[in-house]
Amino acid sequence: MVTRILLHRKAILIYATVILYVGISLFPLVWMALASFSKDPYFPLLPTKYSTAAYKEVLSPSDPSLSFPSWYGNSVKVTVSVTLLATALSAFAGYSFSRFRFYGRNTLMYTILVGQMLPGVVLLLPLYIYLKDLRLLDTHFGLGIVYMTFAIPLCTWLLKGFFDTIPTDLEEAAMVDGCSRVGAMARIVLPLAAPGIAATALFAFITAWNDFMFALAILSTPAKFTIGLGLMSYQEEYFFQWNILMAGGVLMSIPALALYLFLQRYLVTGLTRGAVKG
């Protein structure tokens, strides 16, 4: 009887704490969403009237220099190209590191891993000068090259891990049956590693999507801004139009939040391999 009451009490305590914790975690996003639907641009505590006016302004801007839709497009363009290219190149490297023991393997592998921990701002200076010399400053191509600096190490390291989990027997059997090494990789390993490859690509996508510093240094023409940089320039323009500011914020957050939902299963693997920065 006493234990039952104690258990009951414990359950109530747990539920109360969980609800409080979940509430606090959701608070910023919920506040953003409410603010973005506010009819008034500025409100002391919470919006009083709601409308979709802010979203209309963001999606079809009256000021052409604050073109949120084209920033969105720029981000999609750069991020998707970097993701596809980095994943493809890293798949080869990751496969090689996973399957072969060759001279220099460890050195190359650890170079790539440690490379991931280098401070972005340190790389930024020389990369900026290279892009300047190549006349690639203020271009999406230049920004894409810079994004490869973190996309390749991240993808290689993650993919090596995913390939490691696939037993080599299957490939060996295929090769005994007359399949070439590359054929075995394409027919056996890649399909089996497909979920891991997809997860890797999504991690790379999120990292590039969320970048701010490289875009800040490299892009200078407002029309070429990526979304994070564009939002930052919103702050100067719309500081007292919180509904517009937050509508932009919500639209930038949606893809990242949706992808995390898919990636939950792989989160720990991704995180311990130093993958995503929060």
Binding site: T17, R99, L231
Partner: protein, 291 residues
């Protein structure tokens, strides 16, 4: 013959890009840090980039600004890591209990981590505004008596930025610790209970020691991230007011892209590089123990 070269051919594109965008720049930054390097010709005394020894290091670290930035960085990193590890441990223990809706709670609490940094920082800028919701809530709850201009005052800006930053990474630590907790076999707890250990003793003598490897890896990842933190601070305060939130990374960025003194900025960068590599090596050792 073909077999022997295949591994190298496969890694070639990735290694080439990594060399060009990571290793070469690293080497370059070290060279720049010991030469006279300004972005614009007008700033230069002579043509080219003459060797100047440690002059850039002296220039960077003789003034108070860089020292203050190092100090701010130390406070920022330590405060963030402490809040995140303690908060994340508490959250993980809570969400490790069995209750209905646990999966949903685990997913929803990840949201702060999953949000992109720029909208997250912007939301906090507005919420922390002197007429914003945080001040209204704090006054309503009786915690503060009057509105606090959080980001506009040099005493409150750093705590406010630390709070916004740490809030975002508590779920990360939570995920790591939940993974660690799921690896602890139930038999250990049962054995401890049979031996008469209280819940607190079980936590102290079973849970904590077994979480040690994962907490080491987590702490190192967090330290590296925070040493390199840029976006959240730049969006919230740009290092102000009066350098109160100017991290070393922000300082290096300003020296390079506002003063265009690339040589001096490189010197700061090399110091950062040394710290990052140190943590990187520790991390490698820790992950080996962890996996």
């Amino acid at each position: 013959m073909k077999q022997r070269w295949l591994p190298y051919i496969l890694v070639l594109p990735a290694v080439t890009i990594v060399t060009g965008t990571l290793l070469l720049p690293c080497l370059n930054v070290v060279i720049m840090s010991v030469t006279e390097w300004y972005l614009f010709a007008q700033q230069r005394g002579v043509e080219g980039h003459p060797f100047v020894g440690l002059a850039n290091y002296v220039a960077a670290f003789k003034g108070p600004v860089t020292w203050k930035a190092l100090n701010v960085t130390l406070v920022f990193v330590v405060a963030c890591v402490l809040i995140e590890v303690l908060g994340g441990l508490g959250a993980a223990l809570l969400l490790n209990e069995e209750f209905r809706g646990r999966g949903v709670a685990r997913t929803l609490t990840l949201i702060p981590f999953a949000m992109p940094v720029v909208p997250w920082a912007l939301a906090w800028v507005v919420m922390l505004y002197y007429d914003g919701i945080i001040n209204h809530l704090l006054i309503g709850l009786g915690i503060t008596k009057e509105t606090v201009p959080w980001l506009a005052h040099s005493n409150t800006a750093l705590p406010a930025v630390v709070f916004a930053r740490a809030f975002k990474l508590v779920p990360f630590v939570q995920v790591m610790f939940l993974a660690g907790l799921s690896g602890i076999p139930d038999e250990l707890y049962e054995a401890a209970t049979v031996d008469g250990a209280s819940a607190w003793r079980r936590f102290l003598n079973v849970t904590l020691p077994l979480l040690k490897p994962v907490s080491l890896v987590t702490t190192l990842i967090l330290a590296v991230w925070h040493i390199n933190d840029f976006a959240i601070v730049w969006v919230m305060t740009q290092g102000g007011p009066s350098n109160a939130t100017e991290l070393i990374v922000i300082n290096a960025y300003k020296v390079a892209f506002e003063a265009f003194r690339f040589g001096e900025s490189s010197a700061i960068g090399v110091v950062l590089l040394v710290f990052s590599l140190l943590f990187g090596v520790l991390y490698l050792k820790a992950t080996k123990a962890f996996e």
